[in-house]
């Protein structure tokens, strides 16, 4: 078996989220070093606050202010912080019931080691130096010697310049491996050959192969060479320039049935004015120096293929 192909794959997106009235008040409050909760119909104070009662689904809008001090209800010592977590040095995850609240908030606790942490210990908020209206405005919790302070007090939830949305960046790192069939396809492409796989049951040739015949649901196994020439079965004219793509518009993107293949693949057509591309046009791949796949397909100069020769592949 050839060496397994691998490539880094990073999925990264800045999720932009709007806030409801309660979330907006809570996160704006954090920016102002004020912790808000919400009171439920039966008098419980939820911190962090939510807009609907988790028990009754009743709408909640009765905001209250609670203390920035509280009690650890459970904890877990994290010896190896991971990317994105609140502290870069070993810390404890904690659920903290703030004074005046009936539920607990998840955050990090800065402590010298696990022996310094216990359920029931008293803690207080350490505010981030720069605050923007996000849960990370609480940098972490830290040990605090004081006793439980006053109960929750009413709060209007009104602040100047309220935060109405957050941007939550998310990044996940993967190592992508394409599997057996696609690896074989990519390895052949590196030698400027196009290979497909034939279904042992219906004998159709798939290019690019994905390892299974979608009609028969069986593994495709026989490797077969396809193309390099093929026929345009259908196409569209692209008029919008894509970001980071150095191709002048308009250009043509087409389905191409390679000779010997039973499924059309798609690629850009070049070497011909966009308004002269047509169904049945015979094309061949154009490889650029160092590329691992054809840059585009261009006309071969052969007579057009007859409709009957590709109508099954449309």
């Amino acid at each position: 078996m050839p060496e397994v192909l691998r490539a880094p794959l990073v999925v990264e997106f800045p999720f932009t989220r709007s806030l409801g009235p309660v979330q907006s008040a809570f996160l704006t409050g954090l920016r102002e070093r004020t912790v808000l909760g919400v009171r439920t119909g039966d008098g419980n104070v939820l911190v962090p606050p939510v807009e609907y009662d988790p028990a009754t689904a009743e709408e909640l809008r009765d905001l209250v202010e609670v203390a920035a001090t509280g009690t650890v209800t459970t904890w877990a010592w994290n010896p190896q912080p991971r990317r994105g977590q609140p502290l870069a040095t070993p810390f404890a995850w904690v659920l903290v019931r703030l004074d005046g609240a009936d539920t607990a908030l998840l955050h990090a606790l800065d402590a010298p080691g696990p022996e310094a942490v216990r359920t029931g210990m008293r803690v207080r908020v350490r505010w981030a130096a720069e605050r923007s209206g996000a849960i990370t405005d609480i940098a972490c919790f830290e040990a605090y010697a004081g006793e439980s302070s006053a109960p929750a007090s009413p709060h209007s939830g009104t602040f100047a310049d309220p935060v109405t949305g957050i941007v939550a960046p998310a990044r996940l790192d993967y190592t992508y491996s394409p599997g057996r069939a696609t690896s074989a396809y990519l390895e052949a492409l590196a030698e400027r050959r196009i290979v497909g796989e034939r279904c042992p049951s219906c004998h159709k040739v798939y290019v690019p192969p994905r390892g299974a015949c979608p009609t028969c649901g069986v593994a495709t196994t026989d490797q077969v060479e396809a193309g390099p020439r093929g026929t345009v079965t259908t196409f569209c004219i692209v008029n919008i320039k894509a970001k980071n793509l150095d191709i002048e518009v308009p250009y043509v993107y087409a389905h191409i049935a390679l000779d010997g293949a039973d499924l059309a693949l798609h690629a850009r057509i070049g070497g011909i004015p966009y308004d002269q591309v047509r169904m049945g046009l015979r094309v061949e791949p154009v490889w650029t120096e160092g590329a691992r796949h054809p840059d585009h397909y261009r006309p071969t100069g052969e007579p057009d293929a007859g409709y009957d020769t590709y109508k099954e592949l449309l």
């Binding site: 691998r6 459970t74 877990a76 991971r82 607990a104 190592t175 057996r180």
Partner: protein
Amino acid sequence: MRDVAIVAFAQTDHRRRSDELSEVEMLMPVLHQVLTRTGLQTADIGFTCSGSSDYLAGRAFSFTMALDGVGAWPPISESHVEMDGAWALYEAWVKLLTGEADTALVYAYGKSSSGEVRDVLTRQLDPYYVAPLWPDSVSLAALQAQALIDAGATDEPALAEAAARSRADATANPHAQLKGEVPRGDHVVHPLRTADCPPIGDGAAAVILAAGDRARDLCDRPAWIRGMDHRIEPHSLGVRDLTDSPSTRLAAERAGAFERRVDTAELHAPFSSQEVVLRRALNLDETVRVNPSGGALAANPVMATGLIRIGEAAARICRGESDRALAHATSGPCLQQNLVAVLEGEAHA
């Protein structure tokens, strides 16, 4: 309402990595196994439902690639849940109960090796208050474990014992990834040690369901689904009592689990501490055989592990090793969502 049964189950060998296989290549052998066992062709299947996650694959609409493995042309009746395959099985069960189909193929797969599963799972958390802190799955389970220890429900030696029992049982499971003696290891996140956490790995599973006499035709001893229900906890961890699982208890009650004693329970407990919570919620005493397969501590292909619990319980009934079994599946942090199925075999002729 007609009766519906599980008539075939197959799973891959679960491995740390499967770089040489795409998802569909990993999945196809188990699809073929359940079809061969029942003598069905893909075209005979009335309804197909799958469970998987784009976040594991790192790719949008990743389940569509796997559809090639089930022969999705000409068009089939198909659905997908972005969840563990146990929930796909629930959907298929409902489809059969309503008479919309007589047979169903359910499959699930997960390739956790492509990414960092601890980070990936943070993306299922509340995006406003929790996900920006990136609390990984082990850390959240550790908070629950500490709450159990504080409540006197367990301690570190008892957790080690549960983990060791799972891995010892897994020696009889040819598909398991971790089996036999597994060192307790260091704390991954205190109080959970390496041995308290599931292996990270790749795998897939498939099940065939059939209704009424069709089930009897396809299997000598079908595992009849007597009830199935799933429930959810409030999403905020700080609202919940982490030492209890009221959603599991309610799902079990609605599935009929408490009507008569079960002899076997396949519990989806990726962490040793979660078995403690589930045993309490389900009133399982020492006479019930828990996770004879080794459970999620022996193999944890994320998105397929819950379906495998149902499949393992059903397979035990089909083999005549159980008469009434409970299967449980979970999803989300600290047993956020829970599904319970009750399976029975008919008396031997």
